[in-house]
Symmetry: C2
Subunit: 267 residues, 2 copies
């Protein structure tokens, strides 16, 4: 399972202030904490800065990479901001995200093809959020086709079925799980990715909901998750689920994490 640390996002007020004030020490600290907590990528998102997004995102990339050796997940809806962020990123980033929207496709394909990277591809049609598993799968299949046509190899693509709050639609998790399982059958060799925390929006006990959701997605073969790696209960759930689902032979990683004191203790 590829872990993408979600904490450096300017939708969080404390992060927004740090970016506004160019408080590199604060951003570096949040990056370091996530890297120590086993993040494989660190997400950076400056979407709230609107027309200053590209500048802010590049500063965030440089600030994080000055502190940790982990590659970044460059998170924006703007092809221009992503093109700038990719330019100042060392190594192989994850580009988050592309969709079937023509501007985004046209703007990002040259960026993706210009260097080794992974890309998150959203399972939605041009103008609206998907409302079923079937619609997510259809959009995912079409998007993989468009990317492959343009020369992007399937092994670099992570399909995101777009998690909606279960408080808004009680069938939304069912749709996401159906799409995750279905896409891995229909598109051999494809990766899948979810942002976990949207699922619990509007509900109490969000961390509890998020970690149950993680287990459920893992059972459908999820290959990457955008989550808070500093949430000890969540990471313990991840390791336990890997042991249960047979991807941790002899439960070796789970037992090692236990012996090393890395499993958050019971209450």
């Amino acid at each position: 399972m590829i872990i993408v640390g979600e904490r450096i996002n300017t939708s969080n007020k404390r992060i927004a202030r740090a970016v506004e004030e160019r408080d590199a020490a604060f951003i570096a600290k949040v990056a370091r904490k996530q890297a120590r907590a086993a993040a494989d990528y660190i997400d950076v998102n400056a979407g709230t800065f609107l027309e200053r997004e590209a500048d802010c995102l590049c500063w965030m990339v440089e600030t994080v990479q000055a502190e940790v050796d982990v590659p970044l997940c460059l998170d924006s809806t703007s092809p221009d901001a992503l093109a700038c962020a990719v330019e100042c990123h060392r190594g192989e980033p994850m580009i988050n995200s592309i969709s079937l929207e023509e501007d985004r496709l046209r703007g990002l394909i040259p960026v993706i093809k210009s260097r080794p990277c992974k890309v998150v591809a959203l399972c939605m049609f041009r103008d609206s959020m998907p409302t079923s598993a079937e619609e997510r799968m259809a959009a995912g299949v079409e998007l993989v086709g468009r990317l492959e046509e343009a020369g992007v190899e399937r092994g670099r693509i992570y399909l995101d079925p777009l998690v909606q709050p279960v408080s808004v639609d009680f069938r939304s998790v069912d749709h996401v799980l159906g799409a995750l399982g279905g896409l891995r059958e229909r598109v051999m060799g494809i990766g899948t990715i979810c942002g976990l925390s949207n699922v619990s929006f509007g509900l109490p006990r969000r961390r509890l909901i998020n970690r149950c959701f993680l287990s459920l997605c893992m059972a459908q073969g999820l290959s990457a998750a955008i989550l808070d790696p500093t949430d000890g209960q969540l990471m313990a759930t991840l390791l336990a689920s890997e042991a249960l689902l047979g991807s941790d032979e002899y439960c070796q990683a789970f037992i090692e994490a236990h012996l090393a004191g890395r499993l958050k203790p019971e209450v």
Copy 2:
């Protein structure tokens, strides 16, 4: 989800002592705690008493029913002990369990037909533990056929795919999940049941493993679980999983449990 409280089992030394000493107050206390924690059935198992099993089991049934109004899950491999326990049980018990073993089938079918009750049916062939999802499904289908032939309605049957420790075989959960999902498709209207705690045998952090396993089984439509209802984290996981899986519309039960302080708080 039907919750069967697992705590009154003489494989636990403290329970065995209480049964040996006919310490009704202790057994009543364990029963009351489970009933308060929302158990729909309370399991009673005196298997360790061997030739005294039937006597002990009947005493346990009377002791628990003197204390709480919850029906019991009568848990034994012996048709004779089950027949005695059913006799002294008021109301509709769950009989746990029957299998394709001829003595068990012949001994129990008249007991099951003699009164309203549910029955747990083990997905194994006569002489050995199943080693795949397919074998579990084949045994389950055959057993349902035998029970229906004998006049037991499908709606009373709960198939148990037999959970093995993941520490012994890292694919065992995969087999159980495959069998749970498959049986519900192949045998319309059937119930399924699992004992959770066997899955974590031999591993550290058993309660963490058990609750992740519960979510995974629920995603495959599990209709009943034998578990410790006094484990607050487990019950919180159960409620969160029901909300996620769409069986708790508008997340109403989850939110109510939160407001009533019934969700064990985060660390």
